[in-house]
Amino acid sequence: MADNDHSKIGEFKPFDLLAVAAAREVTDGEVVFAGTGLPMLAIMLAQKTIAPNAVCIYEAGSIGGRPIDLPTSVGDARCHYQASIANGLWDVFGLLGRGAVDLAFLSGAEIDQYGSVNCTAIGGYHPTGKRLTGSGGNSDINSLARRTVFIMVQEKRRWVERCSYITSPGWRIPKWPGGEFVHKREVYNKAFRGGPGAVISDMGVFRFDDEGVIYLDTVHPGFTPQHIQDNCSFKLNISQISGETKTPTYHELDLLYNVVDPEGIFLR
């Protein structure tokens, strides 16, 4: 088998496919904001394959690091290694605000059909909900990056028609203080520059139509659109499926396990 052949079911783990599918969202030369965990694997894999000139920015304040050991959080000293800049939040969030971030990887506990995400409280806000971590930079990045990619677990309770609490604003959102539910463009006006471009779950890859509504694009091998609909609590658009998600190549798997995460931190 050649390095660039695609692996078969059983030769990779679901987590590997998530990392590889996420990495394939990066275009060479893009400026990418990445968070802790899978996003780090994705950007580092992308830089070693299709996007050697992608610049990685970590929210804690480093730009363009060339880590030789996988960081486990964005404040990690490993993000600092061979960075062009090690500064702070004012610097990197300023770049985000300025419109200089092309792509960002994010995650959340709950996602809705418009790409809004909840990572603050499940089951409503205080006093009914279960408290989670809160926004962090999720909301800021989904607000102001040109394109975001969410990595989500495919479960019915997590894929909801509308988030019980919108931490991170997607394509259709309330305009506060009144709360009218409108397209993001009407909320951001001159600061509007994009929003969620893709969602990658453990079962498929999703994208958004012109109205900002999610649809299923590719189905991971081993799953069917029906599996995915069964793990989604709203009626999913499955009329625009373009095919099956390509499995990791042997080369990508080798990079993931032997170069990006040889210690087995995320790829156990």
């Binding site: 600092h80 090690a86 926004s135 800021d140």
Partner: protein
């Protein structure tokens, strides 16, 4: 303001009064003043008002110990070593403390405004999120925006259409907490502060607060730190108190000095999911060890040596981090 005063950790922490508002240096599990946090728990502080760009093990620990009344920030947790801030969540869900949620940029900008002496900052960040839902103005709903507490602004935020270009922006109010407790690598003998590695939002936090306590891994000759002033962050006249205390950031990590102790943080998270669990943990790691020296002795030299950062890399390669 004169020269900063050198004090012990216990003396510094004794200056903090019940009900005071506080902020801290660092980012999630990096460069947090953990020894000071544990000393606050020992001294039984009450009704603290935490205003932070982001949280981590430190505010979760203070919450578990019942020291906190108000938490204003955008995030808390333990990175990959604990999914949620278990203690903060338990107290918030029981209504024992108030969480006021903002976004990361909004919190940062509140500190930028505070550090620049201006009343607010504008941003586009997080418009359309429920952080701006008037229903979720938790301090307002608790009747605490009535002006009686100078550290609580009259509004959580305001939407504003500026007339330069006609854009609608969010105005977030300045934050100027009573105290910043910062953990840094190095301070000059006269008080010049140097932070190594990423400085996160330290400059804003240190300048926004009314009073600044700096806890340093080491005090170095002032002459040494002034050889390269471009590497320094804060001048001595802004520092009120200095505590020299190596390893005082543990279990958080300190660039160039030591790694974050993930195993310790994971244990803390797992063992403090209930109040009984927290109380047992605090008895063992905060009260029984009596002070920071006792804490370090309990951790032991072998553990600390593994965490010690490589001089070449700024972090340790001796800690087993994964499954291989």
């Amino acid at each position: 303001m004169g020269r900063p005063q050198k004090v012990s950790l216990a003396e510094a922490v004794r200056l903090i009064q019940d009900g005071d508002s506080l902020t801290f240096s660092g980012f999630t599990i990096w460069r947090r003043p953990m020894a000071a946090i544990m000393e606050m728990v020992r001294q039984g502080k009450k009704d603290l008002h935490l205003i932070m760009v982001n949280g981590g093990p430190h505010d979760d620990m203070l919450s578990g110990a019942g020291c906190v009344k108000i938490w204003e920030s955008c995030w808390s947790g333990h990175e990959m070593f604990g999914k949620i801030p278990g203690n903060l969540a338990r107290k918030a869900e029981a209504g024992e403390l108030i969480c006021e949620d903002y976004s990361h940029v909004q919190m940062l900008y509140r500190f930028v405004a505070g550090s620049q002496g201006i009343p607010f900052m504008p941003t586009y960040s997080a418009m359309g999120s429920d952080m701006l839902n008037p229903e979720y103005d938790m301090l307002g709903k608790a009747g605490l925006r009535d002006g009686s507490n100078p550290k609580i602004p009259a509004l959580k935020y305001e939407m504003y259409t500026e007339k330069f270009t006609g854009s609608e922006v969010v105005l977030v109010p300045a934050a100027q907490p009573d105290w910043c407790i910062a953990h840094v690598q190095m301070v000059g003998s006269e008080g010049t502060v140097r932070v190594l590695g990423q400085n996160f939002a330290d400059e804003e936090a240190m300048k926004a607060a009314d009073k600044l306590i700096v806890i340093a891994e080491e005090i170095v000759p002032e002459e040494f730190i002034r050889r390269e002033p471009e590497h320094n962050l804060i001048p001595p006249h802004l520092v009120d108190y200095i505590v020299e205390l190596p390893w005082a950031g543990h279990p958080s990590g300190c660039f160039d000095y030591y790694e974050a102790d993930g195993e310790f943080i994971k244990n803390f998270y797992n063992q403090t999911r209930t109040q009984e669990g927290f109380d047992r943990w605090a008895q063992e790691w905060i009260f029984d060890v009596r002070d920071h020296d006792g804490y370090l002795n309990k951790l032991g030299v072998n553990r600390l040596e593994k965490l010690r950062a490589s001089r070449a890399l700024g972090y340790s390669q001796k800690v087993k981090r994964g499954s291989r």
